[in-house]
Amino acid sequence: MNDDVAGDGFARPPPSTAAAAPRDRAVSAVVGKALEAAIVVLYISLLIATLYGGAVPEYQETAGAEVGERVLAEGVLAVGAAVPADHAATATVRHDLPRTIDGEAYRIVAANDSLTLVHEDDRIGGTQPLALPADVRRVEGEWTSTADQRVVVERVPDGRIVRLAEGSP
């Protein structure tokens, strides 16, 4: 690289094919390798910092919000499908929820003719309305994602109620 560093002990016998090679030729390899290593290490650390500092958590959260909406929509459809058309009929239908969203357990709560997903992360969650037959008086109960989930349709004197229940029947 620089002719002035001659005589610092790095010199080797000149290769037989090249005549009058500079005596510091080997230094360039060492400096080059060190430079390469430094650049690669710097690049990788920069990359990790960028990805895990901003992009990856954001993607995880967005994916979590999306999965949450889908889980809630599937829950709503499962509750709707569990109610038989016959007004005298009752039913118990199993439903499977993913155990975690974005690594955390969550709950689905029924209230006011709608289902609400409750998650530790505020961006994951939401409320979706239920449209059930007119004789269904109310929807109650809640599911925890880590338990077994069931939809129970029961008769009451003035119609039917739909309950989100947990555990094996």
């Binding site: 360039s28 390798k33 390469e36 929509a73 599937e74 969650g125 309305p129 449209a131």
Partner: protein, 242 residues
């Protein structure tokens, strides 16, 4: 080996820089793709659930417009109101439009785009049918009704010289008058069997001497499309990755 031998160490440095550049460009491209993918998937599930539920309610027998499961009453379909749509899931957040064969019947919030759920349904229209069976002018003719119904109004006007003494349906005597049947008669029939009327006459009976009228239900197969747009998604449960 065009390059000067003294720069040999730098050639790998250059290739490292090239490799890093390529990796960076690839990564940036991937991130753009990921952003796009997230933006495109960031809608639809709530809409679809609402649309499926609304179409289920609309064709259910106890729903606002259905007479029987999957059979819509034409008169009630024409009167489908915004209140009915609110009862099946329309709200501030969810705009719903119901179309029958691409003709908008009712809408709340006038959705623009969104998710559409289509299903095949029947639209039943009650109608009065008057039919003049073709008779070949011979004695003792038979008439078969093309549809099943629970009551038939029959008019008999026999030509001069012919007396209709009885009308049978299978083994059952429906009308009988030895001195002659003439005028309008109401016949109760079974809606579960095809009706064949056999006339007992003393002479020929031609086309136009007998007319039958009955209530029939005309059913028409249509595509019921329910379109739902989720208006609250963007502000509400946090959409997009931007």
């Amino acid at each position: 080996m065009r390059r000067d031998r003294r720069d040999r160490g730098l050639s790998t440095l250059l290739s490292v820089v090239t490799a890093i550049t390529v990796v960076t460009i690839t990564l940036a491209g991937t991130m753009v793709l990921v952003e796009d993918a997230f933006r495109e998937t960031a809608r639809g599930d709530a809409e679809r659930a609402v649309a499926v539920q609304a179409s289920d309610r609309l064709v259910a027998a106890d729903g606002p417009i259905a007479a029987e499961p999957n059979v819509l009453d034409a008169a009630e379909l024409a009167n489908l109101s915004a209140a009915d749509l609110r009862a099946v899931g329309a709200s501030e957040r969810f705009a719903i439009a119901v179309r029958v064969d691409d003709r908008t019947v009712a809408s709340v919030g006038d959705p623009d785009g969104g998710t559409t759920v289509r299903r095949i349904a029947l639209v039943a229209t009650p109608e009065r049918v008057e039919r003049t069976p073709a008779l070949d002018g011979s004695a003792d003719p038979r008439v078969t009704l093309p549809v099943r119904t629970d009551a038939v109004a029959m008019t008999v006007e026999p030509p001069p010289g012919t007396t209709v003494t009885a009308v049978r349906s299978g083994d059952r005597m429906v009308l009988r008058n030895a001195s002659g049947l003439s005028g309008e008669f109401r016949i109760d029939t079974s809606p579960f069997r095809t009706l064949e009327l056999a006339f007992e006459t003393t002479g020929p009976l031609g086309s136009g001497d007998v007319t039958v009228g009955y209530e029939a239900t005309r059913t028409e197969r249509v595509t019921l499309a329910v379109t739902v747009e989720d208006r609250g998604r963007r502000e509400g449960s946090g959409g997009g990755s931007a």
